[in-house]
Amino acid sequence: MKFSGGVHPAYHKDTAGLQIEAMPLLHRYVVPIAQHLGAPGKVLVAKGDRVARWQPLSEPVGFVSVPVHAPTSGTVKQVAALPHPLGRPMLAVEIESDGEDRPWEGLAPLGDWRSLDPAALRRAIQAAGVVGLGGATFPTHVKLSPPAEKKVDLLVINGAECEPYLTADHRVMLEQAAEVMEGVGLMMRVLGVPRACVGIESNKPDALAALRRACPADVAAEFVLLETKYPQGSEKHLIYALCGRRVPPGGLPMDVGCVVQNVGTAVACLEAVRDGLPMTERVATVTGAAINVPHNLRVRVGAPLLDVLAHCGGVTPDVGKVIFGGPMMGIGQFDMDVPLIKGTSGVLCLRDDEAVLYEGGPCIRCGACVDACPMGLVPSAMGLIAERFRFEELGDWHVLDCIECGSCAYVCPSRRPLVQHFKRGKAEWRDILEERRAKTERDAKRAETAATA
């Protein structure tokens, strides 16, 4: 099934043919404690401590929380607020490598997932710090623990990789097809679902063939080639494209019986269970016209951006923008000292002349954004409202349903910074809702007090 809206940006998947290459060991890693959506863990190490590779640096503080682990062995140089890809400094552990890459002795491989019960699998996945590698970095064990009242019957595997430039998932599907499919089987076992559906955009038929070939007989997976259209990899649109179910506004995939996981996450789950390996590395695409030697890199989490760029031959003098993620939803970086983290699917280096600055002329009501919005919103009207700071009206326009995919701003002939407006609008509207809720609560309490007096 095809969703309405969406855009067809130039795909630039130039790195699709490059084998994944492991990044050499660095002298220094910066491992932020918060690399996932949810509560940051509690730090377990202090300055001067010796740590081993895969040793936990933090422990989860609750269910929606995961630990982070040391990418290599060495000494903790500091535990402090350090540059973070989200833009402001956050608590991180800086490790000076000792060059030995000595593994942690506490690793606990569980072996074959087929003989383990779901609770044990879930525990192993949380302990390994596995988060969704598609970019949102939601803790995977939480997604794999739907409440009993939600009947989940389908595991959706996201191999769409609809962001232009990025080829990390594509390479993982080609080079680690067997591990992806084992991971899929593992996650199906955790969820207790009878089938899985793998969605891949039509520009990667080789990935689909590889996965199909590698699929074990006891993993009931279907493979679907999807229209190549951005944002095909958006959870809601992927589910709709694969099985025709529509996640309701404000709802989650589990509301329509689905759980969505990225292909890279499947591999991470498998490694966490089979080998007891925590998530300390991921595959990231380093590409763009302003990088000298594009790569698909297996990079350890915490590697400073500067070193990653240097490994790829450095940037060209006309570099204009360095983005973590793809060009549609990625985050522009200003500090070359930020580390690559679990959610960094790529580093995109654009030239000056490619980097768009959204100066924002007047809306000419051309309706291109309305045609492009995959969520059925009216970005033109919402942009005008947000521009005038009338945030309390944005709720009526379903601003919280905006997935920030950027299709609207991509087509806007007036180059209006629509996504920026909606990011702010969503935050402001959430604040307004929170205020209203608090007020209702206060009023109720007051009425109660008055009644008892």
């Binding site: 500067l306 522009g332 033109s380």
Partner: protein
Amino acid sequence: MTLEPGTGPDGVPTEPATPVAEPITPRDLIVSASPHVHAGQDVPWIMRQVLLALLPGLLAGLWFFGLGALRVLVLAVAGCLACEWACARLVKRPATLRDYSAVVTGVLLAMNLPSGSPWWLVLIGSVVAIGLGKAVYGGLGYNPFNPALVARVFLLISFPVQMTTWVVPQGPGTALDAATGATPLGAIKEAVGLGRTVAEAGAPGLRDLLLGNVGGSFGEVSALALLLGGLWLLWRGVIRWQVPVAFMAATALVTGVAHLADPAHYASPLVHLLGGGLMLGAWFMATDMVTSPVTRRGLLIFGAGCGLLTAVIRLWGGYPEGVSFAILLMNAATPLIDRWTRPRVFGEARRLYREADAA
């Protein structure tokens, strides 16, 4: 926080790069919200496409009405540009001449005027179009009505004689003081008003209507040339099909039914489609993005409304021509149509939507 500009794949560094002579500092990098790439179109591009699409109609007008038409065109464009510049200056805003929108307004205004219009009429029209039609609302994007049509209707009401003195086309050599006559629709209206039949009105044939060898505003006469330009705009993705198709279909439907019922007093729908300002209106004026709805469903309603009103005014109104009035009336209805035709949010049930909308 400095970065060595790369020199190529020679040697794979495993150590952090050290600061060198030409460091890239954070100040050199652009940081802005996503998305970081763009499809490429911008407002000047859209306006240039419209101008290109108007070219066939314009050339046809110049061919039939000669120097008089050229004079109107130059005056209108110059007037609109000057007024646009002056308005921006008045409110101390950067000049917006480069977005080409004033040129489009000027060309459309000129095409909506008789080729024999006196210079002052054209200039008043330019000032009204840009000043009263656009600038007072805040400039491009904020005007509720099509600026060129505001000017045309203003002039039609204020100077009815000058605005309905139509030069009879005589080819490129048409003199500035050429003979005048009625438009085809005007002739039919007058004849029917006097109790005669359509056939007795002596209106030009369909071939002349198609090519444009008839009296009328200089840019509206050649249905064929305008249609070509309109189709090109559609092909380029500048306009959406809903408006012109619904517009023409509604006009054809109403005039067709009337014609079938009483062919003696109601002209054939082909005359209505090819005659008057319908092609110019349906493809170039009603499709003005600023003053039409944003959703495709909205555009269908908008176009159909334009067509219906045009037919009603032409058949039963006081004026022989109704395109301008019809579009302006539907411009006024645009906010309402936008409200009605809000798309359904992905995943939202139909019932929920109604409730949310009513709340």
